[in-house]
Symmetry: C2
Subunit: 311 residues, 2 copies
């Protein structure tokens, strides 16, 4: 099978951890070992990843200097693809010494300059703040800020990805047997003029939506959205909460799951299943191979007619 596995922010940095290179490397190493099991089981693998904390850090670091080196979010997104992609490829190589080909491809995601998301920023990036600090920073720096769980964070526009510019190159590498890391941070957001000219635009694409788009376009057999919770929960946080083991895009539309970070994952997974007919899974990174084999997490399949819950 061809598996597209999307590493959530928590695969790179555990909640509350400092954004050090050592912490990220240690987490990436754990992730690479979990992903290696998929390859050892005989599957082909494409790895994607988020970049929210990293792109926010790069923006903060740049903000300490003169205005001319405060690069736009597309350039910072490219920097984050370099940083994170490097760590992932290196640890995948270490985890799979028997494997020959590994490639990390800079990836651009085409978005629509008229996407309504540009008027309503929703994607949290960078560190968490208390409300007062967040509002001060918003005023000082012209940021948009919004609550994210119990904290506040900077939010930026997150337009819908329409196409993965490097799709053919990724497909070529996959066909040749390479383990490909790509579409980091959802891809570097670019717009394409009527004459075809590409240019970057200030945004951060949702990595789950970009991963679903990529997986469908690649003809992947399976999309994994990997995080630090074991499944999607119906009535999350309530006394009647229960883990959804098996569902369908149609059923999900009527189920009540936690919004927040789970919302985009469910939307992306359902989109992939609807577009491709293949199934998607949401669950823990450590369960990566079990998710591929439908033995863990929340499995989203087109043909499921009745939802299955954990007993």
């Amino acid at each position: 099978m061809l598996v597209v596995a999307a590493l959530g922010g928590n695969a790179l940095l555990k909640r509350g951890e400092k954004l050090s290179a050592a912490n990220q490397r240690a987490n990436v190493r754990t992730a690479a070992r979990a992903l290696a099991e998929i390859v050892r089981a005989g599957h082909r693998l494409v790895v994607t990843h988020g970049n929210g904390p990293q792109v926010g850090l790069l923006a903060l670091q740049a903000a300490s200097g003169p205005a001319e080196t405060q690069y736009p979010l597309d350039v910072l997104g490219a920097e984050s693809e370099g940083m994170i992609g490097y760590l992932i490829e290196q640890e995948l190589r270490n985890a799979l010494p028997e494997q020959k080909l590994f490639a990390t491809l800079l990836t651009q995601s085409v978005v629509d300059a008229a996407d309504p998301a540009f008027k309503q920023p929703t994607k949290p990036i960078g560190p968490v703040y208390d409300e007062t600090t967040a509002r001060q920073l918003a005023q000082q720096r012209g940021w948009s800020v919004a609550p994210d769980g119990m904290h506040w964070r900077r939010v930026v526009a997150s337009p819908k990805p329409l196409a993965i510019l490097e799709l053919a190159e990724i497909a070529l590498l996959v066909k040749a047997g390479a383990i490909v890391t790509c579409a980091g941070g959802g891809g570097i957001p670019v717009v394409q003029a009527k004459d075809g000219t590409l240019s970057g635009i200030e945004a951060v694409v949702d990595k789950d939506l970009a991963s679903a788009l990529l997986a469908a376009a690649l003809g992947a057999d399976r999309l994994l959205l990997l995080t630090d919770v074991d499944a999607v929960y119906e009535h999350h946080g309530m006394p009647n909460a229960r883990a959804i083991l098996r569902t369908s895009p149609r059923l999900l539309a009527r189920q009540s799951y936690a919004a927040g970070s789970m919302g985009p994952k469910v939307e992306a997974a359902a989109g992939f299943v609807t577009a491709s007919g293949h199934s998607a899974a949401i669950g823990r990174l450590e369960d990566a191979l079990a998710l591929v084999e439908a033995r863990a997490g929340t499995q989203i399949e087109r043909q499921t007619t009745n939802p299955v819950y954990r007993p």
Copy 2:
């Protein structure tokens, strides 16, 4: 022909220009248009690039924050590959709309942890300073600093690249007809333990040496080292200075050319010619196609027995 073209620092940023995203994009656009002529003339193309100013900037930006986000030079090098590679690929796509496949590959260069360069830093990165400021920064931050022309700069270890880790993947993409950007900043420096385990190391590899190594390993027909001077000059800066039009690695060893930034270029070009038997050229970015066709710059060929100078 397969051409490997190495973009010097001046192809990304003209001398004295500020390191803004707009300046870099404008310069990359000019570079992409010059390189596009090589592709339109029917050749295959691999693009490499330097990262001295950029990796220095990233280090300075990180230094403004807490210690835990001051990432090592391998991670910063990876960031710079992302930033610069993105701009190059985007502008190559804009310059060559008729071309189908473009790929920018994160690239790691294997170096020897026992390379004497780790004890004697020589590679200038970041901005230029006056001597007093440079010496102050050296003391404050534990940097090594050294004169670079009329100014002073931070210098870091620049070990010799021994292998390009992603060689097979680059070759695969080239064979499929892709225009590949890779080995940015000479490649991210990594060391390989006896058991094969890879890890990053604090250094910046010379991009000309890495490009020569890559070109020879790829079986390239031509290596171009592109800069903002039209040729290598014998007796540079002296009344009897003259442009070398045609020479050989053997002859170069006896010719007196300016050291500084030209030294690594001449060494790299001669190394490629000796290793491959194919010829290399050093000259101006604007002359890229003329350099491929041996109509400009300094041509370094194995079979030249007498140097040819500009009349």
